[in-house]
């Protein structure tokens, strides 16, 4: 253990308690099993975090394969040699499944994985507050994914991941696969809620002595805000899906106008969760890249408190804008104006974050590691996604491009350029800590460029397609859109190559490389001063031999 030496205290840093604090028996003492049983029975936050990440990797493969099927259909909308590749029914299921796997299977679990692994260490705790609940929250994802996979064979949701009523009701989607899909999302929701409770309690109560709120690293803040979003939002999603389910099974008619229900109610409730969900899938990434940028620029984050306030502000206002998904659905005129206005407001704290990152990098000494490349790529791509978001807050423009490929382009720049880039950045950044092995930097650069270029080739032309008049979720399109769609499918192949290379390198590293990583895997942690780099790689089951004590941190000493 190389917890900082006492003389460091004078310039701020992290030191041991003066008196050795005897700690409880390691929480993971019970898990004495070896091999597969060790994974099945563990309540160690690190092992659970790793399992979350493998789960996310599996979902990425499933969601990525589905994206390939979608792209092949759109590359050859008239089939190959006169034979159609798939039926429209199957195509519609593919788009719904692609989104379900990517959102509920990849992005949310990946952030939960990094959070689980890193958060307790970052705050100097020995585990999450509720280790068994933590394990439960993970394991309930497995039946969720199985249901999602199996729903394919029973005719899953052909109504997209949004599953709007009435299209998703029994009359128009009679297949049992839709019910399975609803259950799958329910289980994922339970996992989300339990995970959120765990993070909130852990971060609120288990910080090491001296780790005041405003000494917490940004990823802790990001996870805390996200957890609150999940806790408030997910029950609403569960509620609306339950109503859909009872409409399907018990014929309750919540969304059936003939029975006094209203299809528009579904959209309001659905987006009340699903807009904040956008931030659930973004905010942890904001936190993670902040760590990466500090490490590889050699500078502390610029405007730490501004970043914290911006994140919290995004979280709160995120609950007040859901109507921007429904500008063409019919609502009171003043309500359209209101939702457009609030959506514009969100652009301000988002801008604050981008400017703060740039100010952090300005004057730095940048090491272009793969993690850093992904973080820098994130800034560029997320800026593009943010700007198209401002365009969508502009109501008349939104009405014109709503439900077109412009929107598809926008949310892929946010979800892929934002969330996935930060996940890959964090993977390259924390993989050495988790496994004790470095991923190849040389291959990493190739992976980055394949994914970065492929991503832009795929999603940039979609902006134009949408403005020009191509609706989304269509199985075939007008001939004038063919050449660009071919090009887009080519862009997908670049990303696919990047993904395969990444997985190959991941497995090779885990199998063939030895553990060589020092505590401070990337060096220079005295700038950022976060705890994960002060313990071994990988950390011992109880994280720290002694409870660390945090003294005024560099954030404060530099600013005041």
């Amino acid at each position: 253990m190389s917890i900082a030496t006492p003389e460091k205290e004078t310039k701020g840093g992290i030191v041991d308690l003066d008196v050795y604090t005897p700690v409880d028996e390691p929480l993971t003492k019970t898990t004495e099993h070896r091999g597969i049983l060790r994974w099945l029975t563990t309540v160690d936050h690190k092992l659970i975090g790793v399992m979350y990440l493998w789960f996310a990797a599996f979902s990425a493969v499933a969601g990525g394969a589905l994206a390939g099927l979608i792209r092949s259909q759109l590359a050859f909308p008239n089939g190959i040699g006169g034979k159609p590749l798939m039926t429209p029914e199957v195509y519609n299921q593919f788009i719904g499944m692609h989104a379900s796997f990517m959102l509920f299977g990849l992005v949310i679990p990946a952030f939960a994985g990094f959070g689980n692994y890193v958060i307790p260490i970052l705050i100097g705790a020995r585990d999450m507050a509720f280790p068994k609940m933590n394990a439960f929250a993970f394991w309930i994802l497995v039946p969720s994914a199985l249901l999602l996979l199996c729903s394919f064979f029973f005719g899953s949701t052909g109504a997209g991941w949004t599953a709007y009523a009435p299209l998703a009701t029994k009359t128009y989607s009679p297949n049992i696969g839709v019910d399975m899909w609803i259950f799958a999302v329910h289980l994922a929701g339970i996992s989300s809620i339990l995970g959120a409770i765990n993070f909130i309690v852990t971060i609120s109560n288990m910080r090491a002595p001296g780790m005041k709120w405003f000494r917490m690293p940004l990823f802790c803040w990001a996870t805390l805000v996200t957890a609150w979003l999940q806790l408030v939002g997910t029950p609403v999603l569960a509620g609306v899906l339950t109503m859909l389910l009872t409409d399907r099974i018990l014929d309750t008619g919540f969304f059936n106008p003939a029975k006094g229900g209203d299809p528009l109610l579904y959209q309001h409730l659905f987006w009340f969760y699903s807009h904040p969900a956008v931030y659930i899938m973004m905010v942890p990434g904001f936190g993670m890249v902040s760590h990466v940028m500090q490490t590889f620029s050699g500078r502390q984050i610029f405007g730490y408190k501004g970043m914290v306030y911006a994140t919290a502000f995004i979280g709160i206002v995120g609950f007040l804008v859901w109507g921007h998904h429904m500008f063409s659905a019919g609502m009171e005129p003043w309500l359209r104006a209101y939702f457009g206005f609030m959506t514009m407001i969100i652009a301000v704290p988002t801008g604050v974050k981008i400017f703060s990152w740039l100010a952090t990098l300005w004057g730095g000494s940048i090491r272009f590691t793969t993690a850093m490349m992904f973080a820098l790529g994130f800034i560029a791509l997320f800026t593009i996604g943010g700007i198209s978001g401002v365009f969508l807050a502009n109501v008349p423009f939104d009405v014109q491009v709503h439900d077109t490929y412009f929107v598809v382009a926008h949310f892929h720049y946010v979800m892929f350029g934002g969330a996935v880039m930060t996940i890959l950045s964090a993977l390259y950044y924390w993989f050495p800590k988790m496994s004790g092995r470095y991923l190849s930097e040389r291959i990493g650069k190739v992976v980055f460029w394949l994914i970065f270029l492929g991503m832009n080739c795929t999603f940039m032309p979609m902006h134009w397609l949408g403005i020009a008049g191509m609706a989304r979720r269509i199985y075939t399109y007008r001939p004038e859109f063919h050449s660009l769609n071919l090009f887009i499918s080519f862009g997908y192949l670049l990303m696919l190559a990047g993904g395969i290379l990444l997985f190959a390198n991941l497995f090779y590293t885990l199998i063939a490389k030895r553990r060589t990583v020092p505590n401070d895997a990337w060096g220079g942690n005295e700038i950022q001063n976060t705890l994960e780099w002060m313990t071994t790689s990988p950390p011992p089951p109880h994280n720290f031999d002694r409870v660390p004590k945090i003294v005024p941190l560099a954030y404060e000493s530099a600013h005041h």
Binding site: P88, N92, P166, L167, T171, Y172, N256, P257, G261, D262, P263, L264, S297, G298, R299, F302, S328, A329, G330, P333, G340, F341, M344, I345, V348, G351, V352, F355, S356, L358, A359, T360, L361, G363, G364, S365, I366, F368, L376, A380, T383, I387, V390, F391, N394, V395, P396, F397, V399, Q400, H402, D403, A468, G469, R473, I474, Y475, Y477, E480, A558
Partner: protein, 323 residues
């Protein structure tokens, strides 16, 4: 921050402004009102045509407002990206072996919070003006069309003339001799230079009626009547498509609308077996002659009987119109 740094930053953001102006200009000149030949051959024009030829005031206003938005918002696209590229070249480990310590700069933080907020207001003001125009639906529209979305076709009723027509979507077949589409009569026809109020409804699932050239997109949702309006400013064929996932054949729910001279429009009404209301009689006589019914109406033998399906959808929107 050093003086030099400030100069560089200002330079980068001025460059971003110039690039934004350039982008907005390129977008603007792709609007070419000189190409106003929206004649019968416009049927072969791609749907992308709407960008150079918006065909209603709403679409024109959306378009010019987009140019303004590009001009005023794109600096925040080019600015960060140019700054990032500059940072990557100047502050690499090779060129800058030791990082400079972070210093607080409250002025900077206040600036990058307030300036974007002000710019957003500058974007919002004209946007809300257009929105107000969109919401200002005419109380006495020249034409009322009841639009019904169904799996998987569009049905239109012109209650004033008792005309009901069904557009089955799909790609039109062009008659080589006339250069016109075989299905043309089943599409929605509208007279030129008139305001049109659309009442949208559905009895099954959600759809969205979208014709980019009119700048109109509105969902049709069971249990409610949504309305939208536009004015017809250009003659020709206009293409659109269903913009809300509605089932397997959603992609095939294409829309075709014909905007034509009033006399051609009345001929279509008569061909469809419509009746001319008394208050329009004089106008139709002046346009088509006193014997318009014999000349243009359907021959006795082929008089179309109103489709049975039309009876139900027709009832609800009438109430809406009365309101």
């Amino acid at each position: 921050m050093a003086k030099k740094d400030i100069k560089i930053l200002v330079g980068l953001w001025v460059l971003a402004l110039v690039l934004s102006a350039l982008t907005a200009w390129v977008y603007e000149i792709s609007y070419n009102p000189a190409v106003d030949t929206h004649g019968p051959d416009s049927i072969v024009h791609p749907i992308t045509q709407w960008i150079s030829l918006p065909a209603s005031t709403v679409a024109e206003r959306v378009r010019s407002e987009t140019t303004w938005t590009i001009f005023i918002i794109f600096p925040f696209l080019y600015g960060p990206i140019l700054t990032l590229l500059y940072i990557m070249t100047r502050f690499s480990k090779n060129r800058q072996p030791t990082p400079a310590p972070v210093r607080e700069n409250l002025k900077l933080e206040v600036a990058w919070t307030t300036i974007p907020a002000l710019v957003l207001i500058a974007m919002a003001v004209p946007a809300y003006d257009v929105l107000r125009y969109i919401e200002a639906k005419p109380t006495h529209p020249d034409q009322v069309v009841n639009v019904t979305g169904a799996q998987f076709y569009w049905q239109y009723e012109l209650p004033r003339y008792g005309v009901v027509t069904t557009d089955n979507g799909g790609t039109p077949t062009i008659n080589k001799e006339t250069g016109r589409a075989v299905e043309e009569d089943s599409w929605l026809h509208l007279p030129l230079h008139k305001s049109v109020l659309l009442n949208g409804q559905s009895f099954q699932v959600n759809h969205a009626w979208w014709v980019p050239a009119f700048g109109v997109k509105f969902d049709v949702i069971p249990g409610r009547i949504n309305t939208a309006w536009f004015d017809t400013k250009k003659k020709g064929y206009f293409k659109g498509q269903c913009a809300e996932l509605c089932g397997a054949l959603h992609a095939y729910m294409l829309i075709n609308v014909v905007v034509e001279e009033e006399k051609d429009f009345y001929q279509w009404v008569l061909r469809k077996g419509g009746t001319i209301p008394a208050e329009e009689e004089a106008k139709v006589v002046s346009l088509l002659g006193a014997d318009y019914r014999e000349k243009y109406g359907p021959k006795e033998a082929e008089k179309p009987s109103a489709p049975a399906a039309a009876a139900e959808p027709a009832a609800a929107p009438k109430a809406a119109e009365a309101k």
